[in-house]
């Protein structure tokens, strides 16, 4: 069975762009797109050890009479077969459960707050929770549709980063797009990273590997191609370290306008 990507459709021009992004993603790496057209303003996602309530903003429910028609035409025009998901389970009569067995999920940077807030540097709290709990990678698309023509992995050496690199290798094979790896040296030496790569048998993935030995990460991110899908691990550190030093993913998403594919700590590849 083909892998599936879950897309929560928003029947607005902004929603059209994110659906186009999802369609491009699915077409490029041969994934089925499953669209959910919300009829209620909230839903629950039960993960292995967490339950996340997503309170959609009102734009997700706008013009319900044309939502299916719009979504179908966009998906068909992208050369995919439209598949729609209808929830079967309800925690309460107005609270559908969305399954978490999908292989990818597309989340705009925020699905709770009004779309006026959506911009670079803002990731909604629910999207964060989904990334932290999900067994699938979360796809955070550009606000405006733009085809990506390469893959870029920001590799920090953590267990999550290794998972992200493995995923990137797979996507590179499926899409035929080149893979570039970027690493910012922070305290550890190049040999340490080499050792991690060797231990995990990822030598093939780092043929095009840029290591920033000087400068700040924020400035060095300029080297990431503008038309690359950026793949990175997130929240791989412990809670205390995260509280003290923050998340690298959070910093990166404030700088890069590219589409992101985020591999969370519970992601199973």
């Amino acid at each position: 069975m083909k892998p599936q990507l879950l897309h929560i459709f928003r029947n607005t021009p902004f929603g059209r762009e994110t659906l186009l992004e999802s369609c491009y993603f699915c077409r490029t790496i041969e994934v089925e797109l499953v669209a959910y057209l919300p009829k209620m303003s909230k839903f629950l996602m039960y993960f292995e050890n967490d339950v996340v309530q997503v309170d959609l903003d009102s734009s997700f429910l706008s013009s319900p009479d044309t939502a299916k028609e719009h979504a179908t035409s966009i998906i068909r025009a992208s050369g995919l077969e439209p598949l729609f998901f209808d929830p079967e389970d309800f925690t309460a009569s107005t609270l559908p459960d969305i399954p978490t067995h999908f292989d990818y999920m597309c989340c705009p940077r925020s699905i709770v707050d009004l779309s006026s807030k959506i911009g670079l540097g803002y990731i909604g709290p629910r999207v964060r929770r989904i990334v932290q709990s999900a067994r699938f990678p979360v796809y955070i698309p550009n606000p405006v549709f733009k085809e990506w023509k390469s893959l870029a992995v920001l590799f920090g050496g953590s267990a999550n980063a290794v998972k992200a690199l493995r995923l990137a290798m797979r996507l590179s094979r499926l899409s035929g797009y080149p893979l570039k790896v970027f690493t910012q040296l922070e305290g550890d030496s190049r040999q340490d990273y080499d050792r991690v790569i060797k231990e995990n048998g990822l030598e093939e993935a780092v043929e095009d590997w840029t290591i920033f030995e000087t400068g700040r990460l924020k400035a060095n991110l300029y080297e990431v191609p503008h038309d690359a899908l950026v793949i990175l691990g997130a929240y791989g550190h412990g809670l205390i370290r995260q509280l003290a030093f923050g998340s690298k993913m959070e910093l990166i998403q404030t700088v890069l306008p590219n589409s992101l594919l985020i591999v969370g700590p519970h992601c199973a590849l």
Binding site: M1, S41, K42, L44, Y46, N49, D50, V51, Q53, D55, E81, D89, F90, T91, A92, S93, T94, L95, D97, L154, F155, G156, G157, S158, A159, A161, T183, Q184, L185, E186, G187, D188, D192, Y193, V196, L217, G236, H237, G238, L239, I240, R241, K248
Partner: protein
């Protein structure tokens, strides 16, 4: 970007320490914490209810008093819908759903949302009880503590039970009732591994409540003496309580259904319900609020109204509770059951006295207690909870025999007339009441995708029998899926038995084409079908295996043998 593979996080170290501790000991420690949290939630709710009720007391004497329940219910719905973004209701079905289907996962916000919303509803005069919201709160505390420490599904479910037990124990000062409610209504199973932590949570919850608000018994202790005649008469109150419970449950379900047909915002619907309750309260003030004072008065034999008024007040309480909860107010049905039962019991006793004035019947309080146990056992269809709760909250152990009789007769009658209790109605209709170790639960835990057998040899419709012979020689199965050679679409199945007559006639080897031999009407299942439906289909068609097809593409076979094998393994896991 820094390597983090070398240093294990503090959280990981803590997790490892937790897993080294014996599981039972671990659950006992967490149960004590959860019980304490649930007890604290119960005390906070009690305090809030008391303070707000006292603050609103002067307003009850004005002409506009009937508006108060409307304001409370409307605000409660606004708070739940717009601030907490949760649905209305008391939440017990949500707790049971999470136990049955979601490994006890509950949202953190549920640990306090219902406390506030039910305070608004009940303190303003809405007819509902504080117990169900505090159960939701306690269960959510248990679930989230379990989540924070990464306990597994079974342990998390036990923690949900601990939260519920701690909450009921604390709010009623009734530890045994808390344990019984948790295992009878919430978890639906009695196992030593559950029972011990639940008992601990119950004790801690009760102690927290006693420590913070004193060792208060909700209703005064009285000694009742029941003769044999009174015990015989208790059969009548059992039937009356059973019928009242059925009427109450049906009216409540009907109000919920009808109110949802109203095209209006949730808060307006709740406010409309609250207005009706306020108007009922003008005629029968006893229907307002949780009504413990009414129960106390009846048990102490001080309730003044006559038979007809008491009967009407019973009816009014049933209506008021249905309107409050059914239209979207927040609160539970525990306390209303007690009030309905006590009023019903009082009416019954007065009826007996009116019919047979010469007989020395037991006191009004005695029949009120039986009525409470009867209505609670009937409405919840949980007789043990009814018995132990009434014994504990009234301290009247000497009437336990008629209490048992009334509770079981009422629960049986209700089960006959209304097979599903109010708590389980929606869950049963959606097939979500999946109790541990039941057939439905075991089947729901099996997934077709995990059971697909992929060792099938796929053949094409344009193949001849001659091409099939080497395939048959090597195949381990006696059925072959047939696909369209161009599109790859699944067309049907060929069974070896269908080919056998032609196999030994070489003259037919080039004449027989698979497309002509295949069974095109073979039932097929989708990978997302429920296992219960798949087995039913196998039984109906007398087939031992079925093809799994998705979007016209053959994925494999699913067979009864594999299902049974996994079913056994799952049963072993669940009974271990």
């Amino acid at each position: 970007m820094a390597l983090n593979v070398k240093v294990p996080s503090l959280r990981l170290a803590l997790m490892r320490l937790i897993w080294r501790i014996d599981e039972r000991l671990l659950l006992i420690v967490f149960a004590a914490i959860v019980g304490g949290g649930a007890g604290l939630a119960a005390v906070i709710l009690n305090r809030l209810l008391f303070d707000i009720h006292e603050a609103l007391k002067p307003a009850h004497f004005h002409w506009y008093a009937f508006i108060l329940p409307a304001c409370g219910a409307g605000l409660s719905a606004l708070f739940l819908g717009y601030i907490m973004k949760e649905g209305a209701g008391h939440g017990v079905p949500e707790v049971i759903y999470s136990v049955c289907k979601r490994g006890g996962l509950l949202r953190l916000r549920s640990s306090f949302s219902r406390l506030i919303s039910s305070t608004l509803t009940i303190a303003s005069g809405g007819s509902a009880g504080p117990e169900a919201p505090v159960v939701m709160s306690g269960a959510s505390i248990g679930s989230n503590i379990a989540r924070a420490f990464s306990l597994n599904d079974r342990q998390r479910t036990t923690m949900v039970g601990c939260g519920a037990a701690g909450a009921i124990s604390a709010i009623f000062n009734a530890p045994i009732a808390g344990i019984i409610f948790s295992v009878e209504v919430i978890l639906g199973e009695w196992t030593p591994i559950n029972l011990i932590p639940i008992g601990i949570a119950s004790v801690v919850g009760t102690e927290v409540s006693r420590l913070l608000q004193g060792n208060l018994i909700p209703f005064s202790h009285r000694q009742f003496h029941a003769s044999l005649l009174d015990i015989l008469a208790s059969v009548g109150i059992a039937v009356l309580a059973g019928l009242s419970s059925v009427f109450f449950t049906r009216l409540l379900n009907g109000t919920i259904r009808k109110s949802h047909q109203l095209v209006a915002p949730d808060w307006l619907r709740a406010a409309l319900g609250g207005t009706c309750v306020g108007l009922l309260g003008l005629a029968f003030p006893s229907v307002l609020g949780k009504g413990y004072d009414v129960v106390s008065t009846i048990i102490e034999n001080h309730y003044q109204s006559g038979l007809v008024l008491v009967a009407l007040a019973t009816l009014a309480k049933i209506m008021a509770t249905s309107l409050t909860i059914g239209t979207g107010g927040s609160g539970g049905i525990f306390a209303p059951c007690l009030v309905i039962g006590s009023l019903g019991g009082l009416a019954y006793q007065r009826g007996l006295v009116a019919c047979w004035p010469a007989v020395p019947w037991a006191e009004e309080g005695f029949f009120a207690m039986l009525g409470m146990a009867g209505v609670m056992s009937g409405t919840l269809q949980a007789p043990l909870t009814g018995i132990f709760l009434i014994v504990e909250v009234t301290g009247s152990y000497q009437v336990v025999l008629p209490l048992i009789l009334v509770s079981f007769v009422s629960a049986t009658l209700c089960h006959h007339l209304q097979p599903v209790s109010f708590y389980y109605g929606e869950l049963v209709s959606q097939g979500h009441l999946l109790r541990p170790r039941t057939d439905a639960r075991l089947l729901s835990d099996l997934n077709i995708l995990e059971l697909i057998e992929k060792d099938c040899v796929v053949i094409y419709e344009d193949m001849r029998l001659r091409d099939m012979i080497p395939i048959i020689e090597q195949a381990s199965r006696d059925c072959f899926p047939v696909e369209n050679s161009k599109t790859g679409d699944f067309l049907g199945l060929i069974h070896l038995n269908d080919l056998r007559p032609y196999l030994f006639n070489p003259g037919l080897h080039d004449a027989v084409i698979m497309g002509e031999m295949m069974d095109v009407n073979v039932p097929r299942v989708s990978p997302f079908d429920h296992m219960k439906d798949v087995l039913e289909l196998m039984d109906q068609t007398h087939l031992w295996s079925l093809p799994v097809v998705r979007r016209d593409k053959f994925m494999g076979m699913v067979s009864k043998g594999t299902i049974l094998d996994r079913y056994r393994k799952e049963l072993i896991v669940q009974t271990h």
